[in-house]
């Protein structure tokens, strides 16, 4: 037996001024299954709420319709009333007779009629609504952080310091990321290592952070609160537990190859650490250049290792970790300017990239901080910086990389301060000095005599004898084409997504923005969230940004992840889709339309049927419509409910 109670709110005169509430109540009371209909001045007030509560208890109401303001205002208030009276809160419907009737129409009779229809529709729906209970899912209270550059480091430290466990996975053999490659940082000119290395040490000594270096996350399954990650720990060619980091092996290794970490500006050994302060301070054997591995000769490292840690044949290990949230901080790659052929990178020795210059300027870099030109090792006296290489360019990347203006100015200043006699030119189209203290920094560079040339460099050619690059550019301020012979050119290359970002994107089911970086859930209001619940973004994986912005976002991502893992369990909305396994044909059309990956096909006896993960489903109903034979329904938004509401909506007289 269905007993529906209908409560019509006057909302002072907001509703009652236009709608004849008393007549309406009388009409409504005659509707099928409606056992009582009352009107009251302010239904949301305490006495109003008590009215409903008492009726549920004493008049045995089992469903309630409140005709009042928009459900966006007080639906939750009334849900609580139902719950407090022991009735399932999903057996409530709101007829929005204020925003949709009394506030938008003037004719008393017509508006009252419309209000009746709206109530009738709500009655038709509530009659068929099902009682629902929110499910809860346990949360694994630890976070996986992918990438241990400054973003991943900051996120991990924040989470660990608040008291939650972190699994931090870094692809390279040491943590530190791109920031560790940099010499100094703008606009304060702090030495990058001086501010980064203490944080790196903090990571390695924090008991809440489980660190995997030289490792990659290969697979992630599960959903918010319950992810499972498969991590490949690549072989370093030695037993890490034995290695003391004494460095003897590196010293004695006879092989020297160009160092990737030094952007090919210096050499490294076949067994090597990236830099002296590496965390962990354990070397890796490069299998491609190791003489023992490639030719079966040498074996010096094994001979000299005092603890016998070297193990050439050691294989990769696989580890599984369970986490409740994931932060992706996988960083960026520098743009490769080879494709901008007019600049001759890779052809002219004295044309280098900004990141190569960083390595030269780095006190622990291949030249111990002295800038020399690659062709002859001479100290360049005239240096030109070329801005926007690969950025703001329809033929390469359309976006602005946000850091190149400032790093070029910073490096120009560093060189100028070290060699005041040198002449430095920065070819730009706009200088974007948008951050705190950046414009002042730019001004300082101008005052120091760095020459800012407005014009995009058309081409670079080389004087064969001197190997001096010559810059040809339109000086748009002078209005003339200029040729400028310099000792060295630095291309200010921008940022592009990491080469493996599409793999990570697929693995996690993330979306990518048109620029190829991972897409945030909302450009303004959810900048660290993704469309996959429980997965957050930090740093340049989301788009080009500088260190201050990266750290800020990393802290945001930490708070996002903590928002998940600080709960023992998650309450899941029960307003989701549901599969009737008997009807399901297992065609997978629903799976194809689900934007959240909430649906998978599972085997049931000999059949395949769709299964919806209630923790992932958002209740949008897309799958319901995609299903050809009605095997999926969206709870309390079923076809029959809609049809009943349509009948109620169209049955009334106008």
């Amino acid at each position: 037996m269905t007993n529906i109670g209908v409560y019509i709110c006057h909302c002072g005169t907001n509703i009652a001024g236009v709608v004849d509430v008393e007549a309406l109540a009388k009409r409504v009371a005659k509707l099928k299954d409606v056992s009582l209909a009352r009107d009251y001045k302010y239904m949301c007030s305490n006495p109003g709420q008590d009215l409903i509560r008492d009726d549920i208890k004493h008049r045995n109401l089992d469903r309630v319709v409140v005709a009042a303001c928009s459900p966006r205002m007080h639906e939750n208030t009334y849900k609580k009333v139902l719950a407090s009276a022991g009735l399932n809160p999903f057996l409530l419907e709101i007829a929005n007779i204020r925003e949709q009737a009394s506030w938008v129409h003037l004719d008393k009779e017509k508006t009252t009629n419309k209000a009746f229809d709206l109530i009738n529709m709500a009655v038709s729906k509530v009659r068929m609504d099902e009682p629902l209970t929110s499910m809860s899912a346990n949360v694994i209270q630890r976070v996986l952080v992918i990438g241990a550059g400054i973003a991943g480091i900051q996120t991990s430290l924040d989470i660990a310091n608040i008291g939650y466990d972190v699994v931090l996975v870094e692809k390279e053999q040491s943590i530190g990321g791109r920031m560790s490659q940099l010499g100094k940082t703008f606009p304060t000119l702090d030495c990058s290592a001086c501010i980064l290395t203490p944080k790196m040490v903090e990571v390695s000594s924090n008991p809440r952070i489980k660190l995997f270096t030289y490792s990659e996350v290969e697979e992630i399954s599960g959903f918010i609160g319950n992810f499972k990650a498969k991590i490949r720990k690549k072989s370093r060619g030695l037993d890490e537990s034995l290695c003391t980091g004494c460095g003897l092996c590196q010293e004695k290794c006879p092989t020297r190859v160009p160092s990737e970490y030094d952007e090919k500006m210096g050499k490294r050994k076949a067994i090597y650490t990236l830099f002296p302060q590496a965390v962990p301070n354990i070397p890796v054997i490069d299998r491609a250049s190791c003489l023992y591995i490639t030719k079966g000769k040498c074996g010096v490292c094994k001979k000299v290792c005092p603890v016998g840690a070297i193990d050439y044949e050691r294989g990769d290990e696989f580890i599984e970790e369970e986490v409740g949230a994931v932060v992706v901080a996988s960083g960026f790659d520098p743009f490769d300017p080879t494709s901008k052929e007019e600049y001759g990178f890779g052809i002219y020795k004295n044309v280098i990239t900004g990141l190569q210059l960083e390595r030269l300027l780095h006190a622990a870099g291949p030249t111990q901080g002295e800038v020399v030109r690659p062709s002859d090792g001479a100290v360049p006296k005239r240096i030109a910086f070329v801005q926007c290489v690969g950025s703001r360019d329809e033929h390469a990347n359309k976006y602005c990389s946000r850091v190149c203006c400032m790093y070029a100015i910073k490096n120009a200043l560093l060189i100028k301060e070290h060699h005041p006699e040198s002449e430095i030119f920065i070819y730009y189209i706009d200088i974007r000095a948008f951050g705190k203290g950046y414009e002042e920094f730019y001004k300082r560079a101008q005052e120091k005599g760095i020459k800012f040339m407005r014009g995009r460099v058309a081409e670079i050619f080389e004087e064969p004898a001197s190997r001096n690059p010559v810059i040809r550019a339109d000086d748009t301020l002078l209005g003339m084409v200029t040729e400028n012979e310099v000792d060295m050119v630095v291309l200010s290359v921008g940022m592009i997504p990491r080469s493996d970002s599409s793999r990570i994107q697929k693995m996690l089911g993330l979306a990518a923005s048109p620029d190829g970086f991972f897409m945030e859930a909302h450009a303004k209001l959810r900048p660290v969230d993704t469309l996959v619940d429980g997965v957050f973004l930090a740093g340049t994986a989301q788009g080009p940004k500088d260190i201050p912005d990266t750290v800020a976002q990393a802290k945001g991502a930490a708070s996002g992840a903590l928002g998940v893992v600080s709960h023992k369990a998650l309450l899941l909305s029960p307003l989701i889709s549901e599969v009737d396994e008997r009807l399901c044909r297992g065609c997978g059309d629903c799976k194809d339309v689900c934007e959240y990956g909430a649906i998978e096909l599972v085997t049931l006896d000999t059949r395949k049927v769709a299964k919806i993960n209630p923790a992932i489903c958002k209740g949008c109903g897309s799958c319901v419509v995609a299903c050809c034979n009605g095997s999926i329904k969206l709870r309390n938004f079923t076809d029959s409910i809609t049809f009943a509401m349509l009948e109620a909506a169209l049955g009334g007289a106008l």
């Binding site: 396994e581 008997r582 009807l583 399901c584 044909r585 297992g586 065609c587 997978g588 059309d589 799976k591 194809d592 096909l601 049931l604 000999t606 059949r607 395949k608 049927v609 419509v625 050809c628 034979n629 009605g630 095997s631 076809d639 049809f643």
Partner: protein, 377 residues
């Protein structure tokens, strides 16, 4: 209910269970048993039957009727009970969110002016009046909804082409309505009757003395369920397979060889109307016929009837049928019902539970195959 029991001879039931044993649904759906439904009816449980979702599961394929030693007309019985349930406020499910039944119901409005003849291309000859009327059925609507994986209007075009070849320019009426088969079989008798009346008016206006259908459901409905409405007229109603086979017999058309074929008997054409030989003769005249194990009276169903019974087990039945067809070694599976075609194609749409090779056989409508094989075309 008593009347239904009487009309369908349900009281003859000896509860032997032969029906459930031969039922293609019961084989895959444990909850469904024709025997149990009849037993319940006999013990007067009207409300339970009307409220039972299994009432809508029966495919009315007549596999049980054919076998029943007591000649209980189970399909008729189900139809009667559905009508009774419909009047008590229960409705069947319908694929596509109810869209198909809705399209059919809309056609029962007298003043409707449809655009259902857009498919008639310049090379096809049709008339507004004449002796032969081609009843196209739902094909234009199927084209709207299923053109992604089948080509329903090719059946209509092929039918007219073959009729033209025989020197007939058939009447194809814009005023044709859905025959009402699906609504009748899902209990909506009132709307069925409206449709029947409108169609009979249209048929009478056309002056036709012969109706050709390319759909076995239209054939059954017009021939059997329209009997009362057509009383007093002398109109012959034939399925296109019968028509083509007579053309071949009279040497009016000749078909080229088109390969090895196996044949799916549609339940309405076979068990309902007893037409088994005509389509086979057509096939034999254009190729080699290899039969599946289950054929003629024993033939399995395509799994869905009246757009109301599509379930997980429907797909199982379809997949099994396709495997059976593929294992005959035939080049194609021929059927003579547009719905069999749609359902068997739908079964292999997107994900399938077996290896693709096992069910990888083209499904072709008989008329389309015959039209493609027309000599001299």
């Amino acid at each position: 209910m008593k009347q239904i029991i009487k009309r369908t001879k349900a009281y003859y039931c000896v509860e032997c269970g032969k029906c459930s044993g031969s039922c293609p649904v019961a084989r895959v759906n444990e909850g469904f048993s024709p025997r149990v439904i009849v037993e319940r009816a006999l013990s007067g449980m009207k409300g339970e039957i009307e409220g039972d979702r299994e009432l809508w599961t029966c495919l009315t394929c007549e596999a049980c009727t054919t076998k029943c030693p007591s000649t209980v007309k189970f399909s008729e019985f189900i139809r009667g009970m559905r009508s009774s349930a419909f009047n008590s406020g229960y409705t069947s499910r319908c694929s596509q969110g109810g869209l198909l039944h809705s399209i059919q119901r809309v056609q029962s409005y007298r003043d409707l002016v449809q655009n259902r003849l857009q498919w008639i291309s310049d090379d096809l000859k049709t008339s507004t009046e004449g002796e032969v009327l081609y009843f196209t059925g739902c094909l234009p609507y199927f084209e709207n909804l299923f053109s992604g994986f089948v080509n329903p209007l090719e059946i209509a075009r092929s039918t007219v082409k073959i009729l033209n070849k025989a020197g007939i320019s058939p009447v194809v009426s814009p005023n044709e309505r859905c025959c009402g088969h699906d609504l009748l079989w899902t209990g909506n008798v009132e709307t069925f009757q409206k449709l029947a009346r409108l169609n009979v008016e249209m048929i009478k206006e056309s002056g036709a003395s012969r109706i050709v259908t390319s759909c076995p459901e239209c054939l059954r409905t017009l021939k059997l369920d329209y009997a009362d409405f057509l009383e007093g007229t002398d109109i012959e109603i034939v399925h296109i397979s019968e028509f083509i086979s007579s053309l071949i017999k009279n040497n009016d058309i000749k078909l080229n060889r088109a390969g090895i074929m196996t044949y799916q008997d549609p339940c309405r054409l076979g068990r309902h109307m007893g037409i088994y030989d005509a389509p086979r003769e057509v096939i034999k005249s254009m190729g080699e016929l290899v039969e599946m194990n289950k054929n003629r009276e024993e033939s399995s169903c395509c799994g869905v009837s009246a757009w109301a019974t599509c379930e997980g087990n429907s797909k199982q039945m379809q997949i099994e049928r396709l495997i059976e067809a593929k294992s005959t070694g035939a080049d194609m599976l021929v059927t003579s019902c547009p719905k069999c075609l749609i359902h068997l194609r739908c079964a292999v749409h997107n994900q399938i539970p077996v290896e693709k090779e096992k069910v990888d056989i083209p499904v072709v409508d008989l008329t389309v195959a015959a039209c493609r094989a027309l000599a001299g075309e």
